[in-house]
């Protein structure tokens, strides 16, 4: 086993700031990208169904008028 304890693991032999600074930002970037990509998809799908609804509405208006 490399690490004697959890605090040993987190201190990374005194380089904790640099090692965890690298990995935390990497995780944040990846999580952020995943969130953005799904958000874009959700917004588009919502928008598409709204267009769909409005065209239905238009058609209904056309038939009634």
């Amino acid at each position: 086993m490399i690490w004697a304890s959890w605090s040993d693991f987190f201190s990374m032999g005194g380089y904790g700031f640099y090692v965890w600074g690298s990995y935390l930002v990497s995780v944040a970037c990846i999580a952020g990208e995943i969130a953005l990509v799904f958000n874009r998809k959700r917004t588009l799908l919502k928008h598409l169904s709204l267009i769909h609804e409005s065209t239905k509405q238009e058609k209904r208006n056309e038939t009634t008028s």
Partner: protein, 246 residues
């Protein structure tokens, strides 16, 4: 067995194929990231020269590799789109850019955090670091240019030109450590004495690289699907899709 590859060059067929592939790549990425990080933090031993700081390598090198590979793949798709006027290839190029930029940023960021304890500086204007920074600007330039042009097909063409011209930067990044006297170390993977140490370090790094590939493919496919829907929203097949969804 003959496979009709052209079938999947149509955005509609690709949309459904990509939908099936995304879960596979996502699962592979999750498993490989877990395995790679486990090897990187619990199996790979302490480096005799750099202590624990070297563990940044497990994200730094894969991110730097991805930043270059993704640029080449992006330029190839953009070039095919420009030459053959194929819509899907241009959409792929557009979908790759943000992920490529993200990995380029990570390579620079983790490099700075590695450089500070090892070289005593966050940043130097040496050939490797500067050319990698130029790569980030190329990605940003590609995305801004495409975002500034309203007509998607014209945006594709303009983006393709910048992507293809920028390819010249890739060999410069790769060979910078040979061509110039840089602070950045050469392309040596092993930094240890004992072969066993080098093996576990190398294994961890390679697994993390494959994990990054799987992640990149999954997220790029999701983005490509969204771009397909955005651009094909007035077509009959998207209309049918919406009919089914409701």
């Amino acid at each position: 067995m003959a496979i009709n590859w052209f079938k999947y060059s149509s955005p509609a067929s690709f949309y459904f194929l990509a939908g099936k592939m995304i879960p596979l790549f996502s699962i592979a990425a999750t498993i490989l990231f877990a395995a790679g990080l486990y090897i990187g933090f619990f199996v790979a031993p302490t480096d005799f020269q750099q202590g624990e700081a070297y563990r940044i390598i497990f994200i730094h090198v894969p991110a730097a590799w991805m930043s270059m590979f993704l640029y080449v793949v992006m330029a190839i798709w953009a070039g095919i789109g420009l030459a053959f006027n194929t819509r899907l290839s241009s959409m792929m190029a557009t979908a790759i850019a943000p992920t490529g930029a993200m990995f380029t940023f990570l390579a620079l960021w983790t490099g700075a955090l590695w450089g500070k304890p090892m070289w005593g500086t966050w940043w130097v204007w040496d050939a490797r670091l500067t050319s990698e920074l130029i790569l980030l600007f190329l990605y940003i330039g590609f995305m801004s240019l495409q975002a500034a042009i309203d007509d998607p097909r014209r945006a594709d063409k303009a983006g393709a030109v910048i992507a293809l011209v920028g390819v010249v930067n890739i060999p410069i990044i790769y060979f910078s450590v040979k061509w110039w006297n840089t602070l950045h170390q050469g392309a040596t993977v092993s930094v240890t004495q004992s072969p066993k140490m080098a093996t576990t370090m190398l294994t961890g790094m390679l697994i993390m690289s494959i994990a990054c590939w799987m992640y990149a493919i999954a997220v790029i496919l999701i983005r490509t699907r969204t771009i397909i829907l955005e651009r094909e929203r007035h077509t009959a097949w998207v209309g049918e899709l919406r009919g089914v969804a409701q």
